[in-house]
């Protein structure tokens, strides 16, 4: 009885203490993700994978507009070239994170480029499970493939396999999987994507509250950092929700619905990823809110939402498709005996494009602005 009385006192106090601990929601939580339907997903906790660049200049640089596929200030262009006819008779392995548009926008054009030029592709989908990657890499090492590609699957712990591929002069080219030593790492500039969408929102809404529904993933955290930088400078308040809920649109919808209850005057909602933005748009529409919805990635579902003309108004299209083509050329060039382009050890970043109703691609098409590749100091 005494124990029960004690519990009656202690447990509600513990619960209320936690509930009352309404700390700030600066969105600084960083934790590894296990779920992944993210084109740029990486669980690399050592990730210095994202650039540590000069802060964004909110006034658009006179010479370059990063929202139009141009290189941001401080970036040095990297020329991508390679004789793709080299692929004739070669065999490669492509590890795809998940059968989702966000990942396949890189891996499918890559596959098409290689196969069109006479190569053979062993295309493996890990279904969002990064633990399958080691076995794939080991298999390809045994099979002595001519090149290995990986989209979005964390390569932490695979250093020995990467070293083996390096020794065998087998190029390993990745997108959105961090920047481990010994690979050619391509990616979008996630932080710049955040800045691009942030500048768009500053122009669109001017002031007020902005809700960000995000997932606990290093790439998305980088986007949040860039977004926050721009919004802080412009005096907009950023409210972050949903960090623990993964990439599901429905989870994002639930989070945003509740967030709109608390902040009905929010002017905008940002989805840290395409599916999160789509879920957020459903929540905004259901709530009858006048908030605009934007996100980042450039997936077909986002374009469809923009074409619908509802709450969803813009996204930042990462250059996945162009990244896939670039990977095809880079690896071909390396197989021919040349070094990887740019400075070894630095990520090669692709420029992004802001997509709105003015330039949204037609159904079935992807954003076709030619992209440039660059490295940051």
């Amino acid at each position: 009885m005494r124990k029960f009385k004690k519990a009656l006192v202690v447990l509600p106090l513990v619960a209320m203490t936690l509930l009352a601990a309404c700390g700030d929601d600066s969105g600084d939580s960083t934790s590894d993700t296990t779920a992944a339907a993210d084109t740029t997903a990486t669980a690399d906790t050592t990730a210095a994978t994202e650039e540590t660049t000069a802060p964004a200049d909110t006034a658009a640089a006179a010479a370059s507009d990063p929202s139009k596929g141009e290189i941001p200030e401080g970036g040095a262009e990297v020329a991508i070239a390679g004789d793709v006819t080299t692929w004739t008779g070669k065999k490669v392995g492509i590890a795809n994170l998940a059968p989702v548009p966000g990942a396949e926008r890189w891996s499918k054009p890559l596959q098409a480029c290689i196969e069109k030029n006479g190569g053979t592709v062993d295309y493996q989908d890990v279904g969002g499970d990064p633990t399958k990657l080691p076995a794939l890499l080991e298999g390809w090492a045994s099979a002595k493939v001519d090149a290995v590609f990986n989209i979005g699957i964390d390569m932490t712990g695979q250093e020995s396999l990467i070293a083996a591929f390096t020794e065998a002069k087998t190029p390993v080219v990745i997108w959105g999987a961090g920047n481990p030593e010994g690979v050619v790492a391509l990616d979008a500039n996630q932080e710049e994507d955040g800045r691009i969408i942030g500048r768009y929102l500053v122009e669109k809404v001017g002031s007020g509250q902005v809700i960000l529904v995000n997932a606990n993933n290093p790439a998305l955290q980088s986007r949040e950092k860039g977004l926050k930088e721009v919004l802080d400078e412009a005096g907009l308040e950023l409210i972050v929700v949903g960090e623990a809920l993964g990439f599901s649109a429905e989870s994002a919808q639930k989070s945003v619905e509740a967030a709109l209850q608390a902040n009905p005057d929010a002017k905008a909602v940002v989805g840290g990823f395409g599916s999160l933005g789509v879920g957020a748009a459903a929540a905004v529409t259901a709530a009858g809110s006048s908030a605009v919805v934007v996100s980042m990635n450039g997936d077909p579902e986002e374009y469809a939402a923009i074409r619908e003309g509802g709450a969803f108004v813009a996204t930042v299209a990462d250059g996945h498709e162009f990244g896939g083509e670039a990977a095809c050329q880079i690896a071909a060039d390396m197989i021919a005996g040349n070094a990887a382009p740019g400075t070894a050890g630095k990520q090669i970043l692709a420029t992004s494009v802001l997509v709105t109703a003015d330039n949204v691609p037609a159904e079935g098409s992807s954003e076709a602005t030619p992209r440039k590749f660059y490295q940051l100091p």
Binding site: D24, D25, S29, G127, A244, Q253, E257, A304
Partner: protein
Amino acid sequence: MGSAVAKIRSAVGGVIPYRRQAGGNGAGHASESKGMAFAARYGTIVFLLVLVVVFTVLCEIRLGEQRFLSGSNLTLLLRQSAVLAILASGLTIALILGEFDLSIAAALTLGGGIFALFLSGQYVVTWPTIPFTDIGGGAVVPADWQDTFLFALIAAAFFGLLAGVINGIVVSYFGVSAFIGTLGLAGIIEGYLIRLTDGRSVALPKNVTDTAQGTLFGWKAPDSWGWDLTVGGRTFNLNFGGLSLPIIAVTAAIILCGISFFLRQTEAGRRMDAVGGNPEASRLAGIDVKRYRLAAFMMCAVIAAIAGVVLAAGRTGSAVTLVGNQGSYLLQAYTACFLGAVTLREGEFHVLGTAIGVLLMTVTFSGLIILGVPGYAQTIANGVILIAALTFAGLARRAARRT
């Protein structure tokens, strides 16, 4: 095989104890015993009410106005509870018979996906073609019938039924452990859906989603539905204007009532309860235990498929066809069922308890976000609240037994 309920009790480590024995320790402990019995029986409900009060008060303090206990948020809670309530109520049937079904999230995804594929005309059922001939290959039913709402709904339920039949046969008749058998089927469904859709979401027609996401008769409570409540010198302005009944919440209520009626008022339902209570005695009494287990899996899967339809049409507007993206529903459904098993009836899974469990989870989620609790703290708080609710009920139950 021993008592199914006994297995579940041991699995949850004493949180769901045996029924309290008759008799007591004398008149002096009578009132204390009644209090403990009340806490044991209604502890979870009390906890839910306490949580509502806490969120209401904290909302008033932190935000300066009432955003939690308001008409619009209550409507939202009903909307957010609907899918999980349907899914968990179907799972309750399997749990009553002492079986675990780990394929419900896959069945949910399958139901939504098949519904969307038929409704959008991307999937047409055709006769098989006889090899080496041109005979066959035509639509089983005219194609323009197959993209109607009713046909799509029946198709979704049928695919759910198929999943349930496979689960039931594998577990009941082949003797495979339910954990393994249903997990295996979940993998099969996942691969099948990827084969059908390449992992893409399938959009639903706007007229279907507009209807499904609407409210009953379009009714909304007037703004005059507000009261000022003064407690401890503080006035709370409770405004229930805007409260409405979402179609999907009404659908969920009908389904839950139907399941509850079936389990409590029909002979088949009572036999299912008997099989769950003591399969051996049921078998000796002439009940075909295997057949009722098969029926339970079939019902569980069909209801899960319908939950998928409600999710696609009534919440997201499109069907997500990657099982992994819906995986959280599996754990949530089990959590709701186990919360329900310590509510009102000691150690028994039942639909009303499951519904209360769903409400507890939805209220917690909503309250934490409205109060601006950071994401990592929400995850911790969810776990704390779940443990607190079950611990409170369990301690009360033990204290009641001792007195």
